[in-house]
Symmetry: C2
Subunit: 370 residues, 2 copies
């Protein structure tokens, strides 16, 4: 490792003066590196010290501070990278991470293994937007979930994912559920004449997620769903590095890192850049105008970060969700375009025509915008 290699992080911080802002920036740097008074850092600890590059006023009491850290602080441990980013300072106030040096992702990150192109190839859908739905609710038996999978598949859906709450409940344990749903999807494909991908939820005890990933693979699943903020964010990287199955990431438990204006990460940086660098092939995020509170502009910025050039990383599929419905779909497509997975859950169940027919309408709508 090049011990002189460094990476920079940009923070939006609150301070009453330039001097105060500079002190705050230095405090951040110390907290995230040597974490001891500078006067007593021994010689061999000095190379761990960050540098405050610049402090620029944004408005009255908001400042942008740019700090550079030695890469040797984390080596190649991504979890420790996350710790350097936001470990201790997560416990302070008024620190919003607004950018992370692209260079730092070059060495230890790989980005999505499949991404937009890979998923399109699996589905043989080169241009149009993709459809996705969720198997729900918790409480249904494997047979009932399989029956729904069958209906969605006959309707021609692109991707079926488990509800992110389906774990290993008695009503539909993991093995029974995945076995039944894979079989139902494969049967449905015979009738639809097109490919449908099934992504079971493998979120569980972090120490056993990899076991469940391999079980999903063995049972013939086409990808997996995971809530990385419940399993430890780095899990995305570990799964993606395996390269066997596409990974769809769900935002459960991630809210507090992104929803607060003055503290945490910018949502597009967190979902669009960090989750992509970690290897999410599809990134589910709370859509504007649904049950959650992101603005349309925030959603567009997430889409951009997920898709735009970023090293040699494959693009991730942005997957807006959370209260999406058939009625607003045309408007969504106008805003977000075709390199998007549209995830409609409960609303498909509300269509009077039944799941299969509703799915066909969903597909037809997407085809109209091809």
């Amino acid at each position: 490792m090049d011990h002189s290699a460094r990476f920079s992080v940009e923070y939006r911080i609150r301070a009453g003066s330039k001097n105060e802002a500079h002190q705050f920036a230095e405090k951040i740097g110390t907290e995230q590196s040597v974490e001891m008074p500078l006067a007593v850092v021994p010689p061999s600890g000095k190379k761990s010290l960050p540098e405050v590059h610049s402090v620029t006023q944004l408005n009255d009491d908001l400042w942008t501070a740019s700090l550079s850290y030695p890469i040797s602080l984390f080596g190649d441990d991504i979890t420790q990278f996350l710790n350097v980013l936001f470990g201790n300072i997560s416990l302070l106030h008024n620190i919003k991470i607004t950018n992370i040096d692209e260079e730092v992702f070059k060495k230890s990150f790989y980005g999505p293994e499949f991404g937009i192109e890979g998923l399109r190839k699996k589905l043989n859908v080169p241009e149009r937007a993709l459809s996705c739905t969720a198997l729900k609710p918790i409480g249904l038996s494997p047979g009932e979930l399989a029956e729904n999978s069958y209906q969605f598949t006959m309707g021609g859906i692109d991707i079926i994912k488990d509800d992110h709450g389906l774990a290993n409940q008695q009503t539909a344990d993991f093995r029974a559920r995945v076995t039944a749903c894979v079989q139902a999807v494969r049967m449905g494909e015979q009738i639809s004449g097109k490919k449908t991908l099934y992504f079971p939820n493998i979120t569980t005890s972090p120490a056993y997620v990899l076991d469940r990933f391999h079980e999903a693979l063995e049972l013939g699943a086409d990808g997996v769903l995971i809530s990385p903020q419940l399993t430890g964010l780095e899990m995305l990287h570990t799964l993606s590095s395996r390269g066997h199955l596409p990974v769809m990431a769900h935002p459960a438990f991630s809210g507090p890192y992104v929803i607060h204006e003055s503290h945490g990460f910018l949502p597009d940086l967190y979902y669009g850049k960090l989750w992509r660098a970690l290897g999410a092939d599809a990134i589910i995020y709370p859509n504007a105008g649904g049950r959650f509170s992101f603005s349309r502009e925030t959603c567009k910025r997430i889409n951009q970060r997920a898709r735009d050039k970023f090293h040699t990383f494959n693009a991730s599929f942005p997957t807006p969700a959370g209260g999406m419905n058939m009625q607003s779909l045309p408007d969504q497509i106008t805003h977000y375009g075709n390199n998007t997975i549209y995830l409609i859950g409960g609303n498909l169940h509300e269509q009077k025509a039944g799941l299969q027919e509703a799915t066909k309408q969903f597909q037809n709508l997407l085809s109209e915008y091809e």
Copy 2:
């Protein structure tokens, strides 16, 4: 499993009227369970539905809502329990979890394996408060870290933990570091004539934490340090269930769940109750008057939750930290008492007398309050 068994969660929410508060509570319940419009929940999904027990006004626009959920929503998967608690609603605003039914912890949680009594027994210290310090900074070689461990041990320290940023950096990789520090501590004990425990940091890729735990055990470590919000919270439960080594939990990356007044968890509920239920033998939290922002009252409530009767669970050792120093120690002891681990890091390095002598003064101070 008893399918009718339920558990309740209390939320502090913001709403303009009782009606609005009730609707908000129902929205929370739906989001955290069936996650689909109630009108289309199929018969076998109905048993997953939560119930709004009560909605009580706290003041103008603050309300306490109590909801009960079927235990079958998570079965025995602790990660899914965390998802039911705060998964999707983490992405909303103005939902503060203020209490969780004690009953729910009875079945699937075990609490600390060692806790206050177990750690006291290992150290043969029945009454007085315990001392702890951190090996730092990142950048030191195994030899330098071992030399510091030796000095602390000769000074009679109770617990030495790795800095939470020590991972597997080239400057001191895990195996070399733990081997050297264990040896140094065992040598130092010959001189001090008392026991010192060494807890290396095993925080890394969640899928490999268990490997590192076993490596620490094999190398003769006396416990481990982990940042559960970086590895996935449930990891505490998995490690504690092994029962081989005490687990000290560090709050890195956990800030956003606790620091916001109106959203997240009450700090004492999160650190004192949840982390204890998950099995943390010692709970590090950001102390009042240090570098972070908790109030003295909040810290006292965390201590209470960590120590007070809670089922048959062992008590966890509250471990206030973050800018603790020798000067304020007597005041801290007056406030927090002896069933506390006092963690002084950088300030020991600031003592002119050197690490060994500074540690002796630290121990003497604790003995005075025995």
